[in-house]
C-alpha cells in the first residue's frame, strides 16, 4: 500500500517540520519577535523557513541585522534583495554608529576584530525594539557550547545565558514565559547539521551569496587560514596577499572569517566537498573561536548570538 511509503519522512522533511513548528510557536506566544539575519547560509535557510511557516501570509515579525560595517558587499546586496522580496521590515543595529557615538571602542592592531563589539550592539537593539524573542540561526553541531543549548534559550536582563540553570525542555512543548526585560533566544535550526543546510539549499533551490562558491580572491595566510585582503585589516610584515581560488564556508565579518581552498562552483560540488572534509566549519574558517577552549561559552554568557 502507498501509505507505508508516505509514513517515512526524510530527515530533511523531519527537520523542516520541527523548525516550522518552533517558528510558529514563537509567533503565537510572543508579542515582539525578531529574526536575526546575517546573510550567512544558516540565516538564509531560517528566513526561508519563516517564509514557509506563514505562507501565504507575510512573515509577521521584522528581520534584524547586526551590521559590523565589515561585511562582505555581496552579502549586503543579498540581504537587501531578500528583504524587498519578502516585504518584511528590516532593523539594523550598527556597530559603526556605536563606535562613532563613543559607546564602544574599536580594537586596534593587526588582529583587531569587531566580533566582540557585536554583543553590546545586539543587546541594545533588542532593548530598543523591545524584542521578547529573537530567532538565531545557530546549530548545535557547530560548537560544543552550542551543543548544550536549548531551542528556547532564556536570557536575563543583561542578555546573559546561564548554562548550568537551563529550563527542562520536553517533547515539542516550549515554555517561553519570561518577565519584562528578559527575553528568549530561539534556535529553530538547533538540530540541523552543516550538511543538512546544504542539502536543503540544493533541494529547495535557495539562492545564496556568490562568496559561498569558488572564486578568485586576493588572500594572505594567517594562523594557517586564508584571510581576504581588505583595507579593514592591518597586515603583518610577513603577510603578502596573492590571488587564490577560494570559497567561504561560513560568513561573518571580513576580519574574522577565513576562506578555504576550493574549486566548488555549484551547490552539488560544495556538498561533495563538505562530505569529504576533515575539518569543522568553525575550525576551518573562524578566528573568533580559537581564543580558548571555552571561547564560545564565554561569549554566550555575555549575551552573544
Amino acid at each position: 500500500m502507498a501509505t507505508a511509503a508516505i509514513k517515512e519522512l526524510t530527515h530533511l522533511q523531519t527537520l523542516e517540520a520541527e523548525s516550522l513548528h518552533i517558528i510558529r510557536e514563537v509567533a503565537a506566544e510572543f508579542e515582539r519577535p525578531g529574526l536575526l539575519f546575517s546573510g550567512g547560509k544558516d540565516s538564509i535557510v531560517m528566513l526561508r523557513l519563516a517564509e514557509k511557516a506563514f505562507w501565504p501570509a507575510r512573515i509577521p515579525f521584522p528581520v534584524v541585522h547586526i551590521d559590523t560595517g565589515h561585511n562582505f558587499p555581496e552579502v549586503m546586496a543579498y540581504r537587501d534583495k531578500r528583504v524587498a522580496e519578502l516585504g518584511v521590515k528590516l532593523i539594523v543595529g550598527s556597530v559603526q554608529e556605536a563606535i562613532d557615538a563613543g559607546k564602544l571602542v574599536e580594537e586596534t592592531g593587526p588582529r583587531a576584530s569587531r566580533n566582540r563589539l557585536q554583543t553590546p550592539v545586539l543587546l541594545e537593539t533588542i532593548e530598543k525594539a523591545q524584542f521578547d524573542a529573537v530567532f538565531g540561526g545557530a546549530r548545535r553541531d557547530e560548537e560544543k557550547a552550542r551543543a548544550k543549548e536549548r531551542v528556547y534559550s532564556f536570557r536575563d536582563e543583561f542578555g546573559q545565558w546561564d548554562p548550568k540553570n537551563q529550563r527542562p525542555e520536553l517533547w515539542d512543548l516550549y515554555n517561553g514565559r519570561h518577565r519584562r526585560g528578559e527575553h528568549i533566544r530561539v534556535f529553530p535550526l538547533s538540530n540541523w547539521t552543516e550538511l543538512d543546510i546544504w542539502q536543503y539549499i540544493l533541494e529547495d533551490e535557495i539562492e545564496i551569496p556568490s562568496i559561498y562558491f569558488a572564486h578568485e580572491r586576493n588572500v594572505f595566510q594567517r594562523d594557517g587560514m586564508w584571510m581576504a585582503e581588505t583595507p579593514l585589516m592591518e597586515m603583518l610584515p610577513n603577510e603578502h596577499p596573492a590571488p587564490r581560488l577560494v570559497r567561504y564556508r561560513t560568513v561573518g565579518d571580513m576580519t574574522c572569517t577565513a576562506a578555504v581552498d576550493s574549486d566548488a562552483r555549484s551547490v552539488e560540488q560544495v556538498i561533495a566537498e563538505i562530505a569529504a572534509t576533515r575539518l569543522t566549519e568553525r575550525g576551518a574558517s573562524r578566528a573568533d573561536d580559537k581564543f580558548s577552549e571555552a571561547a564560545m561559552e564565554d561569549r554566550k554568557r555575555e549575551g552573544y548570538f
Partner: protein
C-alpha cells in the same frame, strides 16, 4: 534517509560520553580540528589516552568536574541513516535534564558498568524511558574489558536487568556487551567476545524501526496559528497552521473542532511547497476547512469518527523537576498541553513511585525534585487528549510555576476521572 533520535542514559561513570565519542570517532564523524583540540587537552592533563568524553562535555564546569551536567546533542550519519544523540547526565540531581533529552527519543541506550551491575540509577532511567514511551531500549553492558570479556558476567547483568524490566512497559529490549573505551561491539563486532552472536551497536541502530513512535490511527491536529494573509490576492483566506499530532489527514475528511464540537470537512491541506494529499505526524501543514467555523489557537481539529477524550479532571504520571517547592495538593500551576495553555489545580497525590521496586507508595503527600508519581488534577478549561501510551503528542503536558516561570513538571496523561464534587478549593 530517515532520522533516528536516541538518548544515552545510565549512571555516572558508566561511560556514556566515552561511548558517544567512540561512535563518532569510529564512524568518522569527528573532524580533525575537534580531535586535535581534545588530544591537546588530554595531553595537558596528563591522561594516558585521548579522553573521548571531552567530545561531548562542552561546558567549562563539566570539563573541570569530569561529569555531564546537561544534555549534549550530537549528530552523525552513516550511509544508511542520520542520527541525533541526546547524551544525558547520569547524576541523580540532573535527572530533569535526562528527561529533557529522552522525551523525544525513538530509542534509549542504557549503559551499565559490567563490574557494578544494575544500580539504582540504571533502574530509574530504564523506568523513565519506559514511562516516556520510548519504543526501543538497548542495554549496553559496558567495560567488558575490565571483566575479561566474561560471558557469565554479561549474562548475570542481563538476567538481573531482565527481571526488573518485566515490570516495565517496554516491549523491545536488546542486550549488547561492549567496551566503549576499546570499541568492542560498538561499530564493529568484537573479536574478544566470540560467544556474542548479536549485532554490534551501530548495526542495531541502523536497523531499528523509527515510525513505531507515531500514532497513525486517530487524526489529531492541534491548531498553532491562524493564517489570514490580509492581502488582496488571498482576501478570504483562512488557514489553520499546525503540526500533525496523529493519524493520516486527507482533504474531504469529516472533522470536529474541539472543544466546541462543531463539525466540518477538510477542504485542503496546504504548504508553501504546494498541496499535500496525506498529512502524517510530524508534518507541519496548514489546514483549510469547508465551513466557516470558529477555530483558534489551542483548539484541536480531530477525525470525527475517532475523537479523543475531553475532560477537565484527569489523572497523569508527573515527574517533578524543581527543588524550590514540592508538588502537593492545592497547588496551582499553569499547564501547557499541545498548543493550549490553561491553569491546573492539583487535587490529589495518588502515589509516589519507589524506583527500586517500582512499588507505589500510596501514602505519599507530595513529590520532591526528581520524584515521579500518579497525580490527579483539574484544569480551568477542558483538555482534548489521548492517553500518553496511545499518543505522545496529545498525551503529554508541562507544568509551569507562575511565580518563577520555570518548567517544574512533566506530565503523561493516563485518562479522565469521573466527575466529582470539587475538593481542594476552587480555581
Amino acid at each position: 534517509m530517515e532520522l533516528l533520535r536516541f538518548a544515552t542514559v545510565g549512571s555516572v561513570d558508566d561511560g556514556k560520553s566515552t561511548l558517544i565519542g567512540r561512535l563518532l570517532y569510529d564512524s568518522k564523524s569527528i573532524m580533525q580540528d575537534t580531535w586535535d583540540a581534545i588530544e591537546h587537552t588530554s595531553e595537558v592533563r596528563g591522561e594516558e589516552y585521548v579522553n573521548l568524553a571531552l567530545i561531548t562535555d562542552g561546558l567549562r564546569a563539566e570539563r573541570e568536574q569530569g561529569i555531564t551536567i546537561d544534555v549534549a546533542y550530537r549528530y552523525f550519519a552513516t550511509p544508511k541513516r542520520k542520527f541525533i544523540i541526546a547524551d544525558t547526565p547520569g547524576h541523580v540531581q540532573y535527572t530533569r535534564n535526562m528527561v529533557t533529552g529522552a522525551s523525544t527519543a525513538h530509542l534509549a541506550l542504557i549503559l551499565i558498568d559490567a563490574r557494578q551491575g544494575v544500580v539504582e540509577q540504571s533502574r530509574r532511567h530504564a523506568f523513565i524511558s519506559s514511562l516516556l514511551g520510548i519504543p526501543h531500549l538497548v542495554v549496553c553492558v559496558n567495560k567488558m574489558d575490565l571483566v575479561d570479556f566474561a560471558q557469565d558476567r554479561f549474562e548475570a547483568v542481563r538476567d538481573d536487568f531482565a527481571s526488573f524490566a518485566e515490570k516495565l512497559d517496554a516491549t523491545d529490549i536488546t542486550y549488547i556487551p561492549i567496551s566503549a573505551l576499546n570499541g568492542d561491539n560498538v561499530v564493529d563486532r568484537s573479536e574478544a567476545m566470540p560467544w556474542y552472536q548479536g549485532p554490534a551497536l551501530l548495526e542495531h541502530l541502523e536497523q531499528v524501526e523509527v515510525a513505531a513512535a507515531e500514532d497513525l490511527e486517530d487524526g489529531r491536529f492541534p491548531v498553532q496559528y491562524v493564517i489570514r494573509p490580509m492581502r488582496s490576492e488571498y482576501h478570504d483566506y483562512r488557514g489553520y497552521a499546525g503540526t500533525v499530532a496523529g493519524g493520516m489527514l486527507r482533504a474531504g475528511d469529516a472533522v470536529t473542532v474541539l472543544p466546541s464540537g462543531r463539525s466540518s470537512r477538510i477542504e485542503a491541506i496546504e504548504t508553501f511547497d504546494g498541496p499535500v494529499d496525506v498529512a502524517v505526524p510530524p508534518m507541519s501543514v496548514t489546514v483549510r476547512l469547508a465551513d466557516d467555523v470558529d477555530v483558534s489557537r489551542g483548539n484541536m481539529i480531530v477525525a470525527s469518527a475517532r475523537q479523543p477524550i475531553v475532560a477537565d479532571t484527569v489523572e497523569a504520571w508527573i515527574c517533578w523537576m524543581t527543588d524550590r517547592t514540592r508538588l502537593q495538593p492545592g497547588m496551582r500551576l499553569a499547564i501547557k498541553h499541545t498548543t493550549h495553555t490553561a491553569r491546573a489545580l492539583i487535587t490529589r497525590i495518588c502515589s509516589r513511585l519507589e524506583i527500586n521496586t517500582l512499588a507505589e507508595d500510596i501514602d505519599a503527600d507530595g513529590l520532591a525534585l526528581n520524584e515521579i508519581g500518579r497525580v490527579e488534577l483539574r484544569t480551568t478549561e477542558p483538555l482534548a487528549f489521548d492517553s500518553y501510551r496511545q499518543n505522545r503528542h496529545t498525551g503529554s503536558f508541562i507544568l509551569i510555576d507562575e511565580a518563577t516561570n520555570a518548567t517544574v513538571g512533566a506530565g503523561m496523561l493516563l485518562g479522565a476521572l469521573p466527575e466529582t464534587p470539587p475538593e481542594g478549593g476552587t480555581l
